[in-house]
Amino acid sequence: MINKIISLEEAQRHFCDGMTIMIGGFLGNGTPELLIDAILASGVKDYTIIANDTALPEIGISRLIADQKAKKVIVSHIGTNPETGRQMGAGELEVELVPQGTLAEQIRCGGSGLGGVLTATGMNTHVAEGKRVIEVDGQNYLLETPLRADIALIHGSKIDPFGNLYYHGTTRNFNPLMAMAADLVLATADSYVNIGEIKAEDVATPGIFVDYIVKGD
């Protein structure tokens, strides 16, 4: 089996200015903090973040917001992190707000080779602006198109050397979707286990999606 394990230093080399970065987690729950460290240490700038939210102050993605090197975030809400709202108001950060279910489907499309999905969510609201409306069986839907990233940062409760991931509780959220929708996928976990310790039925993210497993010291 190919050795996928790399150090935090090696992980840093995969970031570059202007890239689009998907980051798993929901208000910091299931977010790869170690890989947030890697972004910060890499000094990369002008990047776009695709994530559910910008977390709460001090944790997860809010540490990137505080660093002020991101150019744009594509998220479903920013209400839990006042600094994101401040930067948006001051014109320092571009914020694109997407309904959470639409965001999930767009990322799923990006990872699944689909050209888009039709959804009723957002019809007749500002979310519909500039989007195609398509009628199916007398019902109008918005056409929502795929989202992909240059790199996705994923966190699981357990990971094995093949890259198979298992998620405890609510830490799953966007992680399995993002693991499929980026050109390069880096993953960390609470616990690094041996092959066979995650039962085949219980794998939520098959290891083929993970390019590198990042381990701290």
């Binding site: 929901f26 208000l27 910091g28 729950n29 559910n52 939210d53 709460l56 998220v75 479903s76 809400h77 920013i78 209400g79 839990t80 709202g85 948006m88 108001g89 914020v95 707000l97 309904p99 959470q100 279910g101 639409t102 965001l103 999930a104 489907e105 799923r108 959804t119 009723a120 969510t121 957002g122 019809m123 007749n124 609201t125 500002h126 979310v127 409760s157 998620y167 405890h168 509780g169 609510t170 830490t171 799953r172 959220n173 966007f174 992680n175 399995p176 979707l177 939520a204």
Partner: protein, 221 residues
């Protein structure tokens, strides 16, 4: 009893045995505290739980199990966890019997504005747009007016919409409205409040049910 508790207690009566329910943050979350003991609802949390129970006590806290507001919660013994795609397939696919959400504005056509005040407050819609588009029944709970007696129940929402014509019922501390094809219908009023007093605090036009009932503890002025 404060207005929020009056609203939460009244809204709790809308939940039927076996209902699958998603509660928004704020007053909607309080609703769970007032469900009659013989009513067993199943609570979904859009971050990936079916069968959410209650706030975790200090001994129960597990940082891997949180609700959509990032608070640590417990789950029922029949619970399941899933990713965001399945969570919103549940929400959009009509698998929720009911969602209860807050509002900035709500209008007589059932349109809702709840997620943005341009230039002022831009928290984002989170899962709210999906919930109102997908749930079989949508109930809005809100104080009848905003600070400074600003009206919230309007003829037409002025803020950017979260949903267009999707709300079925409005519960405030003063009134319960059904939203029908013909417009708003006042079906219950707070004990001790007159219909005229409600009209004064409501921009929207509404009809009054022939079977108008009282609810809640009498309003103390």
């Amino acid at each position: 009893m404060d207005a929020r508790e009056v609203i939460a207690r009244r809204a709790a009566l809308e939940i039927k045995d076996g209902d699958v329910v998603n509660l928004g943050i704020g007053i909607p979350t309080m609703v769970a505290n007032f469900i009659p003991e013989d009513v067993h609802a199943v609570f979904q949390s859009e971050n990936g739980i079916m069968g959410m129970d209650k706030m975790a006590s200090p001994e129960e806290q597990n940082p891997d199990i949180v609700n959509a507001g990032a608070a640590m919660v417990t789950v029922k013994d029949y619970a399941s966890f899933f990713d965001s795609a399945l969570s919103f397939a549940i929400i959009r696919g009509g698998h929720l019997d009911l969602t209860i959400l807050g509002a900035l504005e709500i209008d007589q056509e059932g349109s809702l504005a709840s997620h943005i005040i341009p230039g002022k407050m831009v928290p984002g819609m989170g899962g709210a747009m999906d919930l109102v588009a997908g749930a079989k029944k949508v109930i809005v709970v809100t104080t009848h007016t905003a600070r400074g007696d600003a009206k919230k129940i309007l003829k037409t929402c002025k803020l950017p919409l979260t949903a267009y014509k999707k709300v079925h019922k409005i519960v405030t501390e003063l009134a319960v409205f059904d939203i029908t094809k013909g417009g708003l219908l006042l079906i219950e009023k707070r004990k001790g409040v007159t219909v005229d007093e409600i009209r004064e605090k409501t921009e929207a036009e509404f009809q009054v049910s022939h079977d108008l009932k009282d609810f809640g503890p009498p309003l103390q002025s």
